[in-house]
Structure formats: structure tokens, C-alpha cells
């Protein structure tokens, strides 16, 4: 049972890759950049999914992929032109296929209701195809019993198949006997062994295959069916398929010399396999990969984290010994440090994944959003190869979906409005990912009308989110979009605009340690910029001490560190203090007090100050006893063994083996404003026992 399950898991893993290839290929076809090989690859993806699904009895999946494949087959044999309409149907079908695979994974074997409409759409495509002989046969020939429809005489042909496996065919586990057996299923076969490849006994290499076969197949099946038998050994063998008829008709039949070009029925879509030199396939094979359980990688990451902590402990002890800096042991430990960093980077790279699958999913979201809104949208992506931690990619899926829907629904104008504004009626949404200074920056840009700030403010006021007389700066108005319960849609659409949206997006991004910002130009569009850490395992932090405890402040939001002058600190009301920095008054927050580490206010003039920017773009000055240094720390969650602690995002282990808490400066900063103050109190009252209930 166990092994059956693991094979099943493998099928789903592979399906995921195949679906990716499929969607990729269809994207190329849609963009008009496809060659015959792209179409073939698309066909093979669906075909392989069908094969696997059949083995596990996912009948809904088999039925649909079969019909899908039929249409793709028509496209690949140029019987059906890949017009925009057809490609759209294919893309939607690919989306639906993705759903079906997902359903099968969940063990839901029911055929969903929409299946009929998708199948009908696919049949519609075929109806438009030119129907030469073989279409019907190839369309329905996959059924267990070949159904011969009354298309006239199903003429039998004799195919001459020359098949000579390369070594890799065997090493990949294929069996020529099985292939010959599959051919025999199609009709009468006569097989001749060909030993021309065999040299002198002295030169005999037992590991190198030298045998080939000439198979004469008399069948009514079309050539595509015959070629299909060889689908899985494509590139692993020397293969020539020709028909007797052709040879007779061909002017100069040289089947031995140039058989590939001899056949008129040689489907023009399939590349001439025979001319592919033996050495080449090695270059064509994709990079070999290894499937590893995530747990194993994470164990390795943990161990490397320990290794780094251990290294810094040793380094610290050595420093205490006050050895000469050129002492052997000091240089060795330095080497140790560099090696440990190398290993860490390499291990982190295992978890890194390109954002491509994430972006691919978005093209589907755009298509669905187009349908729901009646707008025309073009999705452009760039930087799909940008790699981010696997968890980041996974957890970004929902927020990004929201953002993209939001851009189509609210960002872009209706086609008429766009035309009136002198723009292309088709809106453009651009998704891009790029690495920038240790962060990955994902941008969602639309070329819509830009944010309507007066309207945003009006709505926020009407919902009581903002006091009626409060004047807000532009950036503050933009930030209102992220407030819980805010929705600009005039009425609730089924796409977005239920008032759950951007605030959820913002929360998801901040749990990942990232930030989200908006930039908008009236009439030209809006841009949402999400910056995220590359990994969730380490962060750059500033090590500070507060009330005798060592703490770490994440460096991302730190602007600068200051030793305040006495004259810059101003009392503000009974208990608050402001710091004058660069012409602005900034609230001064005592970290020790915020964390409840010591009672009473300390003297800010004896403290050091870390100036930070909060998510709301407000400045806040955090008061600490001392700022030590800046370093990379390994993040250790508190949740797994304890629970969440307000004001603390995680912990780390320092060089001396002590645990240091990593601060969540936004929560500390929010403590400043009276409204949020109560919020923090509310959180802390129930802590930590409330976490479990």
C-alpha cells in the first residue's frame, strides 16, 4: 500500500511539472512564438498525464485529457490552425486539467459539472478542423477497441519501421520487446533483427547496443498512432518510419542513406529524428534532478545553522584567549567560518525555487478575471527565473492572486473608458520579480487610471475609518487601502471587493517578513511593490542590548542609528517623548518598557536610538541601552514550543549559546499611538495560554 501511495505521489509531482510545461507551451503558442517542437511538447505533457492517470484509475482525468489531447494532436499535425480562439480554449482546458489533477490528488474522483462545457468547447475546436483521413481515427483511436467510423475504406498500409535503440534507451529502463509488442497491437508485424551495427569481435563493447530491428507493420492506424508508440523513447533511439507506398513513389529511394527525408507522410511536425547525431541527446537532456523530502532539507538547514552558531562560539572563545591574529588556529577558524557560510548558501539554494509557477498561475487568474469583468487584459511577466525560498513562493500564491484580481477589477478601466482616454482598449498588467539587495521585489503594475484618492478618502470617512476632519497626506490615503474592511468597489462584485482583500494581502506579506508599498500615477496606472526576504531561515539583524537582555532588530526597516543630543529630546505630554531628527519630531519608544522588561522610564540621553520606518511609513525611534553590531542570525520560531509573543517575531541563538529575541518593531511602534495601545494590551492579556485554545 505504501509503495502504491508513493508512486501515486510521484505521479502528482510529475503532473505538476507536466502542467507547468503545458501552460508554458500554450503561453508560447498564444504569443505566436511556438515552433513544432513546442506543440509536440504540449501534446506530450497531456499525453503523459493521461497515461499516469489511467494507471491510477482517475477516469475523469483520463477522459478529459484524452479529448484535450485529440485537439492538440490536430494542432500538431496542422489539421487545426492555432487561432486565438482555439488557443484560448486550450488554455482554459489546461486550467481545467490543473483542477482535475488537484481533485484527483484530493481523492475526489467525481467528474465536476463544468467538464461537459469544457469538453463541448474542445469538440467545437475539432469541428472547425479540416478533416482529412485519419482525423476521426486519431481522435477516437485511443479507446480500447478502435472504432472504425464510416469514413470510407480504412485502407491498410505497410509501415517499415527501422528502430535502433541507443544505450540510454536501455539505461532509462525501456524494453524494445515491449515496443514491438505495442506495435503488434496495431496490426500484423514481421520483425527482422538487424545486426549491421555489430563489428569485429575484437572491437566488441558489451555495454554498447549494436542491434536494431526492422519491423514491417501492416495496419489501418495512421502514422501518428505508429509514432506514438515511440513517444517515450523519443531521442533515445534511431527511428525511421516509412510506408511501402511512399518508397515506391519516392524518386530516389535510399532508405539506408537518408531515410528520414524519404517519406511524404513523415509528419512535418515531428523533427527528423534520424539526423540527430548520437552524441547530441546528452546536451538535450534536462539537468538531472533529485526529489527529496522537504523535511530532510530542513534538517540539513537546521544542522548548518547550528554549525554556524558553533563556529561563532569557537571564534568568541579564541578571541577571549587573546591569541596573535596570525596564529594558525585563528586562520583555521576563519576558514571554518567561510566553509560554513558556503555550506549554508548551498543548502539555502536547495530550498530556493523560481517564481515561475507562481506567475503562471496568475495568467489563469487574469483569464478568469477577464471573463468576470468583461475587460480585456494582457499579462506580461518578467524575471520568472528569480528564485525565492519555497515557502515564500507557496505562501505568496493567495496574496498575489488577490492583487492580480484586484488590478483587473479595480485597477484597469473598462475598454470604453480606456479608448476615451486615448489608451489601448486592452489593459496591461505587468508582473515582475527581481533580486535587489538581499530581498526579492515583486511588482504588480497595471496601466489603469491610477488610484482615485478623493474617492478613497471619502469611502474611508463614510466607513468611519478616518475622522471626518482629518487631513491626510497622499501616501497616507494610499495606505488606507490596506485597512481591514476597506473596499472601493461601488458594489460587491464576485471577483474582489468584499472588503477582505488588501489587508489580508498585507498581513500575509508581513508574516513572511516582507513589506508592501503602493505607487500610483493618475491616468497611468498603479504599482504594488512587495519586497520579501529571500529566505525565512536567516535575517540580517542589529544586535542591541536592552535592560540586560540581548535583542535583535531586523535590519530591513532600520534607517539609521543615533546617539541623541540632550537638546533633541522633548517631553510631549505627561509620559511621551519626541526626538528631533532631521527636522522632524519622531516618537521615542522605550523598548524595555514596550516589552515589559523593566519598570519606569529611563533617561533617553543615556541611551542609543535606532530610527526605523514602520509599515505605515511613519518614523519611530526605538530606545535601547546599547547597539552592538550587525550580523546575520538564524531564525528560530517560538511558536513550535511556546506560542506567539507580542512584539517578538522569533528568536535566535547567539555566539555564546544564549537565546536572543528578534523584535517585531512594527508592533512595538504601534504601541505609540493610543488607539493601538489598547490593541497590544488586548493581545498580551491572553498570552500565551490563549494561543492554544
Amino acid at each position: 500500500m505504501g509503495s502504491q501511495n508513493s508512486i501515486r505521489d510521484m505521479f502528482f509531482e510529475e503532473s505538476e511539472e507536466l502542467l507547468e510545461q503545458l501552460i508554458d507551451g500554450l503561453g508560447l503558442i498564444a504569443a505566436g512564438q511556438a515552433d513544432d517542437e513546442t506543440v509536440n511538447a504540449v501534446f506530450r505533457s497531456v499525453h503523459s498525464i493521461k497515461g499516469g492517470a489511467g494507471a491510477f484509475g482517475f477516469s475523469a482525468l483520463v477522459d478529459f485529457s484524452h479529448r484535450f489531447e485529440t485537439v492538440l494532436d490536430a494542432v500538431r499535425s496542422h489539421r487545426l490552425e492555432a487561432s486565438a480562439g482555439i488557443v484560448l480554449t486550450l488554455q482554459r482546458s489546461a486550467d481545467f486539467l490543473t483542477d482535475l489533477v488537484e481533485r484527483a490528488r484530493r481523492g475526489d474522483t467525481e467528474t465536476p459539472e463544468q467538464a461537459d462545457s469544457f469538453l463541448a468547447a474542445l469538440d467545437q475546436c475539432l469541428a472547425g478542423a479540416s478533416a482529412p483521413d485519419g482525423l476521426v481515427a486519431s481522435a477516437f483511436g485511443f479507446a480500447a477497441q478502435p472504432i472504425l467510423l464510416d469514413l470510407g475504406e480504412p485502407a491498410t498500409e505497410v509501415f517499415e519501421i527501422r528502430f535502433k535503440p541507443f544505450g540510454r534507451l536501455y539505461s532509462n529502463g525501456h524494453n524494445p520487446a515491449m515496443i514491438v509488442a505495442s506495435l503488434a497491437d496495431l496490426g500484423e508485424t514481421t520483425t527482422h533483427l538487424q545486426t549491421e551495427g555489430m563489428g569485429e569481435l575484437a572491437d566488441f563493447d558489451p555495454a554498447a547496443p549494436c542491434l536494431g530491428w526492422l519491423i514491417e507493420l501492416e495496419t489501418s492506424a495512421p502514422e501518428t498512432k505508429v509514432r506514438e508508440v515511440f513517444d517515450f523513447v523519443d531521442g533515445l533511439c534511431d527511428l525511421h518510419i516509412s510506408t511501402r507506398l511512399d518508397e515506391a513513389a519516392a524518386p530516389e529511394p535510399h532508405p539506408q542513406v537518408a531515410p528520414a527525408s524519404s517519406g511524404a507522410t513523415q509528419a512535418s511536425s515531428s523533427p527528423p529524428q534520424s539526423v540527430r547525431p548520437t552524441a547530441e541527446p546528452a546536451d538535450n537532456t534536462p539537468k538531472s534532478t533529485l526529489r527529496v523530502e522537504l523535511d530532510r532539507v530542513d534538517r540539513l538547514i537546521n544542522a548548518v545553522g547550528e554549525l554556524i552558531i558553533n563556529q561563532s562560539m569557537i571564534a568568541q572563545r579564541l578571541q577571549e584567549l587573546r591569541l596573535a591574529t596570525d596564529a594558525d588556529v585563528v586562520t583555521h577558524v576563519e576558514d571554518y567560518r567561510l566553509l560554513a557560510r558556503d555550506i549554508q548558501e548551498a543548502v539555502m539554494a536547495i530550498r530556493a525555487q523560481p517564481v515561475k509557477p507562481l506567475f503562471q498561475r496568475m495568467s489563469r487568474i487574469v483569464r478568469e478575471a477577464e471573463e468576470a469583468t468583461g475587460k480585456k487584459v494582457k499579462l506580461q511577466t518578467s524575471g520568472e527565473g528569480t528564485e525565492v525560498d519555497k515557502t515564500v513562493v507557496e505562501r505568496l500564491s493567495d496574496p498575489l492572486t488577490h492583487m492580480v484580481r484586484n488590478s483587473v477589477d479595480h485597477g484597469l478601466e473598462k475598454p470604453e473608458a480606456r479608448l476615451a482616454a486615448g489608451k489601448d482598449p486592452i489593459g496591461t498588467i505587468t508582473l515582475s520579480a527581481v533580486h535587489r539587495s538581499g530581498m526579492v521585489v515583486i511588482t504588480i503594475r497595471d496601466d489603469g487610471a491610477g488610484l482615485n484618492r478623493p474617492k478613497i478618502l471619502e469611502i474611508a470617512r463614510s466607513k468611519g475609518l478616518v475622522a471626518p476632519d482629518l487631513e491626510l497626506a497622499d501616501s497616507e490615503i494610499d495606505a488606507l487601502l490596506f485597512m481591514p474592511g476597506f473596499s472601493t468597489a461601488d458594489r460587491v462584485s464576485n471577483l474582489s471587493g468584499r472588503g477582505v482583500g488588501l489587508d489580508v494581502v498585507k498581513n500575509a506579506v508581513s508574516t513572511l517578513g516582507g513589506r508592501i508599498t503602493i505607487a500610483t500615477t493618475p491616468g497611468q496606472g498603479t504599482e504594488f511593490i512587495i519586497s520579501l526576504p529571500l529566505t525565512l531561515a536567516v535575517l540580517d539583524g542589529m544586535v542591541v542590548s536592552v535592560a540586560g537582555q540581548t535583542l535583535v532588530i531586523p535590519i530591513t526597516s532600520i534607517l539609521e542609528t543615533i546617539v541623541p543630543e540632550e537638546s533633541d529630546v522633548h517631553q510631549f505630554g505627561a509620559s511621551d517623548q519626541l526626538l528631533f531628527v532631521r527636522g522632524r519630531y519622531v516618537p521615542l519608544v522605550d523598548v524595555a518598557e514596550g516589552l515589559g522588561l523593566s519598570g519606569g522610564l529611563r533617561d533617553p540621553r543615556k541611551c542609543q536610538v535606532v530610527l526605523m520606518e514602520t509599515e505605515e511609513h511613519a518614523l519611530v525611534a526605538l530606545m535601547v541601552d546599547r547597539i552592538h553590531d550587525q550580523r546575520q542570525v538564524v531564525i528560530k520560531g517560538l511558536e513550535s514550543n511556546y506560542g506567539t509573543v507580542p512584539g517578538v517575531s522569533a528568536a535566535t541563538v547567539l555566539g555564546d549559546g544564549q537565546v536572543a529575541l528578534i523584535l517585531d518593531p512594527d508592533v512595538l511602534a504601534r504601541n505609540v499611538s493610543p488607539a493601538a495601545n489598547s490593541g497590544l494590551l488586548r493581545i498580551s492579556e491572553g498570552m500565551p495560554h490563549a494561543v492554544s485554545h
Partner: protein
Amino acid sequence: MQSAIDATRLDLEFVAFCTGGQNFSLDISQVREIRRWSPVSSLPHSPEEVLGVMNLRGSVIPIYDLAARFGLPRTPHNERNVVVVAAHGGKTLGLLVESVSEILSVKNEDIQTPPDTRGDSGRQAITGIITTDEGMSRVIDLGAVIGFGGKAPQ
């Protein structure tokens, strides 16, 4: 995991320890190791009995003062204090106690149900009483001690 006592087992083993002048015991299957006390980093906004967090070979684990959890005064600082590292429901945690005394082998029927007493905050975290040579040892329910999956008083 609900209770410290597995009723289907006939012979049970407990790690017995002493803190705040009282004897306690914990099912040996929940005990991972016993460590020397090392300084902890305190956690903000934590209840009285949570001393802070400690580094256990790379895991950050919370340390509970068992005496404080049962409403006794906090365990005074002493070099001989030990931390009993235990696991409960996938969480690892440490209990600060004054000393670990012995391993008790007990038959299931020799464990008494604690009698109802007047409102004692720690009472519901005690699931049984074992009679020992020195007196009695209180069997603790780890889940109730840390406030996760605690058993309701019967």
C-alpha cells in the same frame, strides 16, 4: 497525551523530583533529558511561571518554574537547580526544579486519584498521588502545567 497516566499500562515509571518543598513526578516517557541550569532569556508579557527561553542544541525552548506554576514562591537561584526537559504534544519544554531524586516504579492501581480540595490553582495539573518512602509524590499533567490541552477537573 491527555493524561500523564496511561491506564492500559500496568507498570509505570516516573521521574521524581523536588521543588518548593514538595515532591512531584512525571511519566518517564515524557522526559527527554535532565540538564544543568543555564541562564535563560526572559520573554516579554509572559506569565509568572515562564522564566524565559533557553537554547537546547539549536531549539528554543521555554522554561517553566514548576514551583511558581503551583502557586509556590519562585524557585530561588541555585547552581544545583536542574532543568527537566520534557515533551508534550510535539512541544519541547523545560521544567526548573531544585533536584531530581529517583525513578519510581509503580503499579497502576497504586496511583491514587487526588481528592477534591478547595480551589487550588495548581490542583487540576495533578492527576495522581503516589505513596513513596519519603511521603507522597504528585503526578503532574504536563499539558495542564503548560496550559495546553489541560484536563478539566473531574
